[in-house]
């Protein structure tokens, strides 16, 4: 008896440690009030690559790192920036937010990099934001996010809400969808996104029939899908992230729900995720992004070809990868316009810079440090690729605080 109880106690202790361990190890470095000078000696300029190369986010973030590396190699082959070759220094954020902050500090203070490219989750961005602000160093953040942020030391090259979520809702409304059900992972992005969706729905005559959150990594969706089915909504707005999507869509199909009866529009499922969920479960469902591998244009043909040649013909390109690739070129253009690597001068040169990106023409909005992007709704095909069914007709001006939308006045 005593040994059994002893064993259980040991087991409990171990499980507790296993649960708590990833959260430990946070460390705050000393802060300086003045910025750190960038190392411009030598004939190279160092930049930091800060992505999760291990842990749960590695699946997505490794592809982003690859896209950044591709851009750097192309730029170096064409002669570099201001006569200097770019030397990438890659650090592993390990899917752990305090680690992101530590590595950011290391890149800025030890390596004295010109800029850092990376981060994926909003949690990691929020963790490094004070580090970049204190040291007056630049971060380029390549992923769509929940908006309501505008750090003077971050350039946001992914979509903010009015370039992804709002167009997604506009599309549903144009399709005659009168009611939606909201399903999301339980963290900052889905909760903020759903707040925006509810405000939009209230102002546009749509009903929100239900709202459910699953903890990140959760793979049991029986009950949530039952609720969705019972609600008989016209469409589902899905802000789930990661593995949960796999379980959700398997359950969704098992319940007899289809893209024809109740379409799901997702904002976190790109080409790479489609591959791991399975087209069997996804064909016909909708996504909202700014870029797809199938987006037409010579800039994208070149990008897709170069990426596949370097990383493998079976590797798809996706929106965050494209935004990361573009961010390196935008930094280069800013540096060249400023004729300096100095952060304040580079920032000052940002407004109005344009780049013919794979997604089409993008322009930096200096005031918000976001970029003008074209919104695109896509439909997932049987081949796992996403084809565009609607676009905004041209780049949409970024509006992270949704100031131009009267219905959003109570949000920020």
């Amino acid at each position: 008896m005593s040994t059994i109880r002893g064993r259980v106690a040991v087991l409990c202790a171990a499980l507790a440690v296993a649960l708590v361990l990833p959260g430990c190890g946070s460390k705050t470095g000393e802060t300086t009030s003045t910025g750190v000078t960038i190392d411009v000696s030598g004939d190279t300029i160092k930049v930091g690559l800060l992505n999760s190369l291990s842990g749960t986010m590695a699946i997505s973030e490794v592809t982003v790192r690859d896209a950044i590396v591709l851009a750097i190699e192309e730029i170096n082959a064409a002669g570099g920036v201001l006569g200097k070759k770019i030397q990438p220094i890659s650090e592993d954020g390990a899917s752990d937010w305090p680690t992101f902050a530590e590595k950011a500090e290391k890149l800025i203070k030890e390596n004295r990099v010109g800029a850092v490219f990376g981060c994926w989750t909003s949690a990691s961005r929020k963790a490094v934001k004070p580090v970049f602000e204190e040291n007056k160093s630049l971060l380029f953040y390549p992923v769509q996010y929940e908006g309501l942020e505008q750090s003077p030391y971050i350039f946001y090259t992914g979509a903010t809400t009015n370039q992804q979520i709002v167009p997604g809702l506009d599309y549903l409304k144009a399709q005659g969808k009168k009611s939606v059900y909201l399903v999301g992972s339980d963290y900052v992005f889905p909760r903020t996104a759903n707040k925006i969706i509810k405000a939009y729905a209230a102002a546009n005559g749509m009903t929100v029939l239900g709202e459910d959150y699953a903890p990140l990594g959760s793979t049991e969706f029986g009950t949530i899908v039952n609720k969705v089915k019972a609600a008989k909504a016209d469409a589902v707005f899905n802000t789930l992230n990661g593995d949960s999507n796999v379980a959700f869509f398997k359950e969704y199909k098992s319940a007899g729900l289809t893209a024809a009866t109740m379409p799901v529009i997702s904002v976190s499922i790109a080409e790479e995720e489609v591959k791991s969920i399975g087209t069997q479960y996804l064909a016909g469902q909708l996504t909202a992004w700014n870029y797809y591998q199938t987006t037409t244009g010579s800039a994208n043909d070149k990008f897709v070809k170069a990426y596949k040649a370097k990383f493998g013909a079976d590797k798809p390109t996706s929106d965050p990868m494209e935004a990361a690739y573009v961010s390196v070129y935008l930094w280069k253009a800013m540096v060249e316009k400023a004729k300096s690597f100095e952060v304040e001068k580079v920032k000052g040169a940002s407004d109005g810079i344009t780049f013919q990106a794979p997604e089409g023409l993008v322009t930096i909005d200096g005031a918000t440090q976001h970029i003008h992007k074209t919104a695109r709704i896509g439909k997932i095909g049987d081949d796992g690729l996403i084809t565009e069914v609607w676009n905004s007709g041209g780049p949409v001006k970024p509006d992270p605080y949704l100031k131009a939308y009267p219905w959003a006045s109570g949000l920020s």
Partner: protein
């Protein structure tokens, strides 16, 4: 009414999944007392076996059925190897066993990452298992969940028969109830341990095959479910298969009912609170094994 019935079915099927992932553990942890943190990775091995077989056998239905015995053998063999190389040297040292098997679990995860890549892989389910069966009116039951329920019933029945009616089962029970007495009575305890570990790990492989129908197949899938599996066995009462069976279904129905009325996060908390309260009241679990062993 429909909602209540379909929620009840959801609860039972959550219970079936819990039971399937806990069944092997009920044997290796419950019966033998080995805390095997790599049990989740045996489940992962079963899932990847399904994936590999599907690239060889293109028919999704056939490859799924073939995967069940093959995954049992693959995961079972991994279990025996682990028992033979490490665990048998560490009997009666639970803390060391735990740390060693945790290390093995990390190794196996990285191995899977190196062989199959970090992103999740997908298998195609046979078309019939992606649909549902209409019971009455609006009430439908997902075929994949019915399949898993059937698989669990079969597995529990087979295990019960094996433990109750075969001479091998009698030996396992003898070793569990009093190892020393079994040994002096001529039961080859080392061989019995290895065989028990084979079956327990093999059952994890079968659970892996079933999970391909429900969720993601990736290197970390095992870690995500191992805690649930341990909970079922601990609450059910160590050394008792019956306890695990009842507790799995009770927890499944409890979780789905609370979730329906509130949210998934609240339901998870409710289940944990219920478990903690229950273990305060009955630290030995729902059922206890009465033995004359002094240990």
């Amino acid at each position: 009414m429909t909602v209540v019935a379909s929620q009840l079915f959801t609860g039972i099927s959550i219970g079936a999944v819990l039971l399937l992932i806990a069944l092997g553990l009920a044997l290796t942890f419950g019966q033998m007392g080995v805390i095997n943190m790599a049990h989740g990775e045996f489940i992962m091995a079963g899932a990847y076996t399904t994936f590999v077989l599907q690239s060889a056998i293109t028919d999704a239905g056939v490859s799924l059925l073939v995967a069940i015995p093959v995954a049992f053998a693959v995961a079972g063999a991994m279990g025996v190897l682990l028992e033979f190389l490490l665990i048998r040297r560490l009997y009666a040292r639970p803390l060391d066993t735990l740390l060693v098997t945790w290390g093995v679990s990390l190794l196996l995860q990285q191995l899977a990452r190196d062989i199959f890549g970090a992103p999740n892989v997908q298998t195609r389910a046979p078309e019939v298992l992606t649909g549902n069966t209409r019971i009455a009116g609006d009430l439908t039951m997902a075929n994949n969940r019915l399949f898993i329920l059937g698989l669990v019933v079969l597995a529990v029945a087979a295990l019960t028969v094996a433990l109750r009616l075969t001479s091998f089962g009698r030996r396992i029970r003898a070793v569990v109830q009093n190892r020393d007495l079994a040994a002096v009575s001529g039961v080859p305890t080392a061989r019995i341990d290895r065989l028990t570990f084979f079956i327990g790990s093999g059952l994890a492989g079968i659970a892996g095959v079933a999970l391909t129908l429900l969720g993601p197949i990736g290197p970390t899938m095992g870690t995500n479910i191992i805690i649930d599996a341990f909970l079922v066995v601990v609450v059910g009462g160590i050394g008792h298969l019956r306890g695990s069976v009842i507790v799995a279904f009770v927890l499944g129905v409890l979780q789905s009912s609370v979730e329906y009325l509130t949210t998934l996060s609240v339901a998870k908390v409710a289940v944990f609170v219920a478990i903690v309260a229950f273990l305060q009241w009955r630290p030995q679990g729902a059922f206890t094994l009465r033995t004359r062993s002094l240990a």
